[in-house]
């Protein structure tokens, strides 16, 4: 089971700024371990963020994204006290959803 994400969301002038830190290995599938075997690819493939049931961000990621990725984005309309949900799914089918309250 993956570690929780760290999500910070701040509303200012009708725009919500969201910062997400995810805990993930993000293996490219290009690396070899000490005994020369290829380390199998393991990376986040899709990220979605939603607010009040609406998708406010949807992204497709690949192996070029760094380990423990950091994502920052803005969306319009959120209010203080609303909840933002972020979900990622990786290429092995692992999934993680976390929620944060907008400040």
């Amino acid at each position: 089971m993956a570690d929780p994400m760290r999500i910070r969301a701040v509303a200012k002038d009708g725009v919500v700024n969201v910062k997400v830190l995810m805990s993930h290995e993000m293996e490219t599938g290009q690396r070899k371990d000490n005994s020369g075997n290829v380390v199998p690819a393991h990376f986040i493939q899709s990220v979605t963020a939603s607010w009040q049931g609406k998708t406010v961000l949807s992204a497709q990621w690949g192996p070029a994204v760094s380990k423990n990725p950091f994502l920052e984005f803005n969306f319009k309309g959120g209010q203080k006290g609303d909840k933002v949900q972020v979900t990622w799914t990786d290429n092995k089918g692992d999934k993680r959803t976390d929620e944060a309250t907008i400040n």
């Binding site: 570690d3 929780p4 760290r6 910062k19 830190l21 805990s23 290995e25 371990d33 380390v39 760094s66 380990k67 423990n68 950091f70 920052e72």
Partner: protein, 267 residues
């Protein structure tokens, strides 16, 4: 033709920019660090560390909340700014990692040999010390470094550490001071702090532990020293050994008066 011309002009530009490179490259690295500051993945280690501290674990099924880091059982706030220090219950000077091992053994009932086998995290294995270290040091952010020197054993550790810092040895006839004893030196683009000088020593010591972007791991001070020994081609520095604590004491004391500002982020 057009293309060759373009390449030629690029080469020319590079040649002109050549001599000015080092300084601007250093500035660029500083800018890069600043940009990373906001999304420091050390946060992930801090969260896991806080959880580990409060979780009931080990054969005795207790948490680490009664662990005394020097300011009384369970007091974490600011504790790291006063480490390493002498602990009467163990009758020796201890740094943070050593104290954590001590608490995990005495409070939680772990076997020392089991929990010090793989002290540093890597692919597929995570280190509890790196997580706990991240959280405990984050609780000392903003505190002023004040390493106690009142006990004779603390003074002894400092003197031993000082000796080790200047001791030349190994196949390269190297000492810590070879790289860290002069001001304004660098290896490739990495500025080398002069650890015998207060300002540099403060900047260096107060920014460890740090998240190393190139490794994707959070590293504590025991790891930093371990890797310095590897780079000097010295024998392995044993985790939580007397030597590692003495060297830490020397470097921490030199940073006295500096504002603690870790976990940081480094390239």
């Amino acid at each position: 033709m057009n293309r060759t011309l373009k390449i030629a002009s690029v080469l020319l530009a590079a040649a002109v920019a050549g001599p000015a490179m080092p300084q601007s490259a250093v500035d660029e690295i500083a800018k890069y660090r600043l940009q990373l500051q906001d999304g420091n993945p050390a946060d992930l280690w801090e969260a896991r560390g806080e959880d580990l501290w409060k979780q009931k674990r080990g054969p005795k099924n207790v948490s680490l909340e009664q662990c005394d880091l020097g300011k009384g059982p369970g007091v974490v706030k600011g504790a790291y700014a006063e480490l390493p220090r002498y602990f009467a219950d163990a009758d020796r000077v201890m740094d943070l990692e050593t104290r954590l091992v001590h608490c995990m053994v005495t409070l939680q009932g772990f076997k020392q040999a089991d929990i010090t086998k793989r002290p540093f995290g890597g692919p597929g294995s995570r280190s509890d010390y790196e997580a706990l270290g991240a959280w405990i040091t984050s609780e000392a952010k903003g505190y002023t470094m004040a390493v106690p020197m009142s006990h004779p054993k603390e003074q002894e550790a400092f003197r031993l550490g000082e000796k080790m810092f200047f001791f030349r040895g190994g196949p390269h006839d190297f000492a810590c001071a070879t790289c860290h004893g002069q001001t304004g030196k660098r290896i490739r683009l990495q500025d080398l702090p002069n650890l015998t000088e207060r300002g540099d020593a403060q900047r260096a010591y107060t920014t460890w532990p740090a998240y190393r972007v190139s490794q994707g791991e959070l590293r504590t001070f025991q790891w930093r020293l371990n890797d310095c020994f590897r780079q000097q081609r010295f024998p392995d520095l044993k985790f939580t050994s007397e030597a590692s604590i003495a060297l830490t004491t020397f470097l921490a004391k030199n940073a006295d008066g500096g504002k603690f500002n870790a976990p940081a982020i480094k390239r």
